[in-house]
């Protein structure tokens, strides 16, 4: 079953005025698991003694043109999720469907197409650009490996793209070390956009930037989304950023989804105790936190996650069943899904 040949739908301009299309999922993640084996070395051969469950049974869909925010603390598996979706690392189990086709089954050619359609912007603008390549070369690279245009055409496209992300095209021959963090992130965004992708996975793309620069980059990303009808998967630990940019939010904890909901719904009708403590803990300008935090323990290690509900060790309302039974992700209405045994009680 190959339904939409995505090469054909790769022209984002087409989807303009096709708002009815927006219900078609562009990405569908089904029971995705990614385990990293832990080895301990024996005398001759090392043997696997366990696994870090970085992503554990994660399912959600992303529709065209929306921004899905993925939020969680370090070790919750949000970055691994992004890399697994891009097939930068192979999944352990489950499926990632891109235009309803499993990317794990892609052959070389299809992979090459996928690498054009899904792009990534990384966290550290200092580490994500090759220090020994000029900006021109860095931006030309995606075109080059996909055999786009002649040398002259490519150069023009690169200069055009530089202008578009708010940089002077005369920077063509500059090296990354000549730029500030914000400018580098613009370059990284330009590199992601130059092949006209459909989906951008932004992995903590603004976390390393100063507030004022962060605002510039977020605005740029919003502008680009409008212009190119992009779908964003926005991964961040910062709730305020996620809240601003996302349409829908996925809350992850220790490799699992705790809660998914539309943005407004999540903030006005917070259900999962973890989401609640996350909101509680985030420093805010408008109100001062009262008293001590409910949650007072370190995050357990992902190599040895708690049984049952992974959050039960830090949850104030944990019950007997939470320690043994893994809660399912239940839809409590309005596509608001919660993985908590007490979800039904908490809805009220």
């Amino acid at each position: 079953m190959n339904i939409v040949p995505f090469a054909a739908s790769a022209a984002p301009g087409l989807s303009k005025g096709m708002e009815t299309m927006s219900e078609v999922p562009i990405l569908e993640i089904r029971h995705l698991k990614k385990y990293f084996p832990i080895y301990s070395s024996g005398l001759i051969f090392s043997k696997q003694t366990g696994a870090v469950k970085a992503v554990d049974d994660v399912s959600f869909t992303v529709t065209k043109g929306e921004t899905v925010g993925i939020v969680g603390e370090s070790g919750c598996g949000k970055s691994t999720l992004g890399k697994t979706i891009m097939r930068l690392t192979d999944r352990t189990e489950g499926q990632v469907l891109f235009h309803e086709k499993d990317i794990a089954t892609f052959n070389r050619e299809e992979m090459q197409e996928l690498r054009k359609s899904i792009q990534m912007v990384f966290q550290d603008p200092y580490a994500s650009l090759n220090p020994r390549m000029t900006i021109g070369k860095t931006l030309e690279e995606p075109l080059l490996v996909n055999h786009v245009g002649s040398a002259q055409e490519r150069e023009n496209m690169v200069r055009e793209m530089l202008r578009e992300v708010g940089l002077d095209p005369s920077h063509y021959n500059s090296y990354p070390h000549e730029f500030s963090g914000g400018q580098r992130q613009r370059i990284a965004i330009a590199r992601a956009l130059i092949n006209k992708p459909e989906v951008i996975i932004a992995d903590e793309a603004v976390s390393a930037l100063d507030v004022s620069v962060q605002a510039q980059i977020i605005n740029l990303m919003k502008d680009m989304q409008k212009k190119y009808h992009l779908t964003y998967l926005f991964i961040s630990h910062d709730l305020s950023v996620i809240r601003y940019i996302s349409d829908r939010i996925v809350v992850m904890y220790l490799g699992r989804i705790m809660e998914i909901a539309d943005k407004e719904d999540l903030f006005t009708r917070t259900i999962h105790p973890y989401t609640e403590s996350l909101l509680e803990a985030a420093p805010q300008l408008t109100r001062r936190r009262q008293g001590k935090l409910i949650m007072n323990m370190d995050i357990p290690s992902a190599s040895n996650p708690p049984s049952g509900c992974v959050f039960h060790t830090r949850c104030a309302g944990a019950r007997q069943e939470c320690e043994t039974l893994v809660p399912e992700l239940l839809d409590i209405g309005c596509q608001h899904c919660v993985a908590c045994h007490r979800a039904k009680e908490l809805v009220r």
Binding site: K83, M86, L88, M111, Q112, R115, K116, I118, Q119, M120, F122, Q123, D124, A127, S128, L129, N130, P131, R132, M133, T134, E141, P142, V145, N146, D168, H171, N173, S174, Y175, H177, E178, A188, R191, N195
Partner: protein
């Protein structure tokens, strides 16, 4: 922002040029190359056939400024022509180790897994367990003596270092975000290794190359000295020393000049290598 863009190498060059020691090292090495290339113009003696039986083991004089050896050959001429062998001794083994070792290191580091951990790493370990002189002697025994075989032996001795350094750097680099970024735009593995990783490993390798050249010269001299390198009539600096060995007490100048030449050139390579290391160190930025 209208500064001229400078590549990392251009910046490094500026830093290198400010380092007096490094520049002195580079001058010594350029001197060696100059002498090697223009040897016939620097002396009118032939290093092998011009034997002056009236002046055997002569001390330095106006006719023979560095004196003569036991066959009456002009030491200066032999040193000057020896610069050619010395240059070859510096370049050949290192080139061999570079062109064989770096691809292996790139492959091993980038691919990882069984071949990397169980075959290449173990082979490197095994190779490194031999003292390099022993290795060279053993190879000379198998392949026979002679200059080229000695070069090969020294080159094989350098392999582990080049494989290790490349592999280590690649492992550190391959998880950098810009390598991930390159993968995410669809670059092939070969392209990533050659276009994205290798240029970042080169600075470290460059330093290794200069330092290995210094070692190569000493090793060649050593091998020639014990007689498995250049043949005795060839004017290698090592064989000059070998000849001089018997006259160390009576005619010390026979040994002094080749010895000095070797020390000077090795010092030059080391100073330049050290300068390169400082200049290319990413931690010192402008």
């Amino acid at each position: 922002m209208n500064r001229k863009s400078q590549s990392v190498y251009a910046l490094a060059f500026h830093r290198f040029m400010r380092n007096k020691q490094a520049v002195l090292g580079a001058v010594i090495i350029l001197g060696l190359v100059f002498v090697a290339v223009f040897a016939p113009f620097l002396t009118h003696y032939d290093p092998i056939f011009d034997q002056d039986y009236n002046a055997v083991l002569a001390s330095p004089s106006s006719a023979h400024i560095f004196g003569t050896d036991d066959l009456g050959r002009d030491t200066f001429a032999r040193l000057v022509y020896g610069a050619r062998l010395t240059t070859a001794a510096a370049v050949l083994p290192v080139a061999f180790a570079f062109f064989v070792g770096v691809p292996i290191g790139l492959y091993s580091g980038y691919k990882g897994g069984f071949i990397d951990q169980w075959i290449i790493t173990r082979l490197v370990d095994a190779l490194q367990a031999f003292p390099s002189l022993m290795l060279a002697l053993a190879l000379a025994a198998v392949l026979g003596g002679g200059f080229l075989n000695a070069m090969l032996a020294i080159g094989i001795g350098f392999l582990p270092a080049f494989i290790r350094i490349t592999r280590g750097q690649v492992i550190a680099l391959k998880n950098q975000e810009y390598i991930l970024a390159a993968r995410s735009i669809g670059c092939s593995n070969l392209r990533i290794a050659l276009v994205h990783i290798l240029p970042n490993v080169m600075p470290t390798l460059l330093v290794q190359i200069t330092l290995a050249m210094a070692t190569a010269i000493i090793s060649e001299a050593g091998l020639s000295y014990i007689g498995v390198g250049a043949s005795p009539e060839q004017p290698s600096w090592g064989s000059l020393l070998r000849t001089a060995q018997s006259y160390l007490v009576t005619q010390p100048w026979v040994a002094a000049f080749p010895g000095l030449a070797i020390s000077l050139v090795v010092l030059g390579f080391n100073m330049m290598g050290d300068g390169l290391r400082r200049a290319l160190d990413p931690k010192i930025k402008q």
